[in-house]
Amino acid sequence: MNNTLENTKIDRSKYSLDYLDALEAESIHIFREVAGQFERPALLFSGGKDSIVLVHLALRAFRPGKFPFPLVHIDTGHNFPEALTFRDNLAAKIDEKLIVRKVEDTIREKRLTEQRGKFASRNALQTYTLLDTIEEFKFDACIGGARRDEEKARAKERVFSVRDEFGQWDPKLQRPELWNTYNGRIAKGENVRVFPISNWTELDVWNYIRRHNIELPEIYFAHDREVLEWEGQLVATSEFIQIDPTDKISVKKVRYRTVGDMTCTAAVESKAATLDDIIAEIIKTKTSERGETRIDDRVSEAAMEDRKKTGYF
């Protein structure tokens, strides 16, 4: 090996990456591995901040080329309208293909039974639509915005997470993932879920959004909204939830910390109108992202692990 230049002679301060740039470099590398290893990848886009960051990273990985994958949205029919508008505008602005598949159609075609109850959620049913969509387009890799800091089952998942024909995750049979070497080889019918921002935390995502001034749906910022108070959480009133006469409904200044379905995402009371305000609040907060805003994770200790095993993201 050539050692004519000594490491010590290089001014290292010129050549070091700060943590956000290092995270970005890692994510771009993962995106390009997907492009290099798979024939029919897809980027699962929800309109939430994590998937918006994914799109931003993909632009940095592939421009001036086109994305080597379409954006795919599994529309539960319970989305925030603001998120849907944002989704359509973004896809048009970057001029990339957007595929939308509706849970509504799967329910009708497959005669699925919808959950009942006050906050009847289609969270579990969207797995059917996702798996059908993977089948329809023969996707071999689906890129998603899950992060390991979100939840403890996710903390165990690989960046390249192999799923069987039924979309199932087997936490005991995960492939060892070494260095930055990602093994995307699969058998026919299997597919890989790829998580480029695995090592980002919620705060990293927000700091990155601020640094690059990335546009977000307005519901992430404080706004007035009619909400129902339920076990300490604030759920937006909508046609998708069952409202009873005894419910306590009021208009509050809120923002969303995560954006999922209207039926299972809670708002937080906040006056944070700018990214700076939001970041200041997140640094001070004492509750985790999913704990504060996701009604669907409270069901059991292993709720996420169980859903992942059956094909959920």
Binding site: S16, P176, N183, N199
Partner: protein
Amino acid sequence: MDILRFITAGSVDDGKSTLIGRLLYDSKSIMIDQLEALEKQSKNKEEGEIDLALLTDGLRSEREQGITIDVAYKYFTTPKRKFIIADAPGHIQYTRNMVTGASNANLIIILVDARNGVVEQTKRHSLIASLLQIKHVVVAINKMDLVDYSKEVYDKIAADYANVATSLGLNEVMYIPISALNGDNIVERSEVFPWYQGPALLDLLETIEVNADVNLTNARFPVQYVIRPQSAELHDYRGYAGKIVSGIYKVGDKIKVLPSGLESEITAIEVSGKNVEEAFAPQGAIIHLKDDIDISRGDILVQQNETVNLSNEITADVCWMGQLPLQTGSRYMLQLNSRLVKAVVKEVEYRLNVNTLEQEAAPEKILLNDVVRLKLKTASPLPYDAYNTLKVNGGAILIDETSHVTVGACMLQ
């Protein structure tokens, strides 16, 4: 602010999960709802203490059995650094998981139970640190509260460990007496060790210099993907996208492509959508060349005066990770960064006893978690560096041809 990735080695009995729980808890990285969930599960509620170990065991079966099976990644940030912890299991039957967690670590914390001193397991964890070339080793001598915070006990363990470190070539070793359970010397220096003058663990983690571990001298750029928009306005655009795994590339650099040996010159470099004069590891980049030569995924670009091993006969230290045994004559795929080649195992030179660190005669079958020295033959010449000199271009994986599972971690020699 930069990132420090570290791995903790030790079994549950050594207080590994308690240590991590303590770091997260004392650095205020645990949220109220997570604490509440923890309190619900904690078995020793009557003592009024929550079981911090429960924080790190993410899977149902792990919680049921009270052990760590797979690597879990945990995150915390202080004003000085972002930390990524690979929480890996310590039992011998999970050696492969520890190797996985160790592969990306800048630093390893090896936990030693002060009552037991340096044991077989300590040696095994140190061997992995040495095999994977983790530069910085912190020996945390834990449960000091159970040996009356004795300096003699601490000194004896440190002296014993120094022998292990020397035999394994671990140069940078730091020692800290701690009690993870009580939080002594974890976030702040504790007065229970008046004889200890060094920093608390967190202080050490915050200040240790890891930037210098990136090799900026010997540049390697494995091509991941070729960007060719083929649109009207970008008709001639052809950029090689990849990650600079080491070194610095500048516009004007004379480069060669390996394994083909074709030569050219860098005409432009893009990083994150912007044209730059130079780019460096670990940045991702798109590199443009003067000549229209045949380059595809798996090729690497290096400076013309660089010498890179180029051979189809390779010796490697391999941690076997397959459920099925490895046998001489078996075929695999070998993946080094973005390059994928067929490989066949020609010979097993020896097996390393991971507990005694001695070389043993090669057994007929190499089993899960065995560490062996292999001779491999690849279907085409592989451009690589010795793992010990440039690990970013010397760590490869073996993939089973039919099941596609990753079955080996190779440190190329």
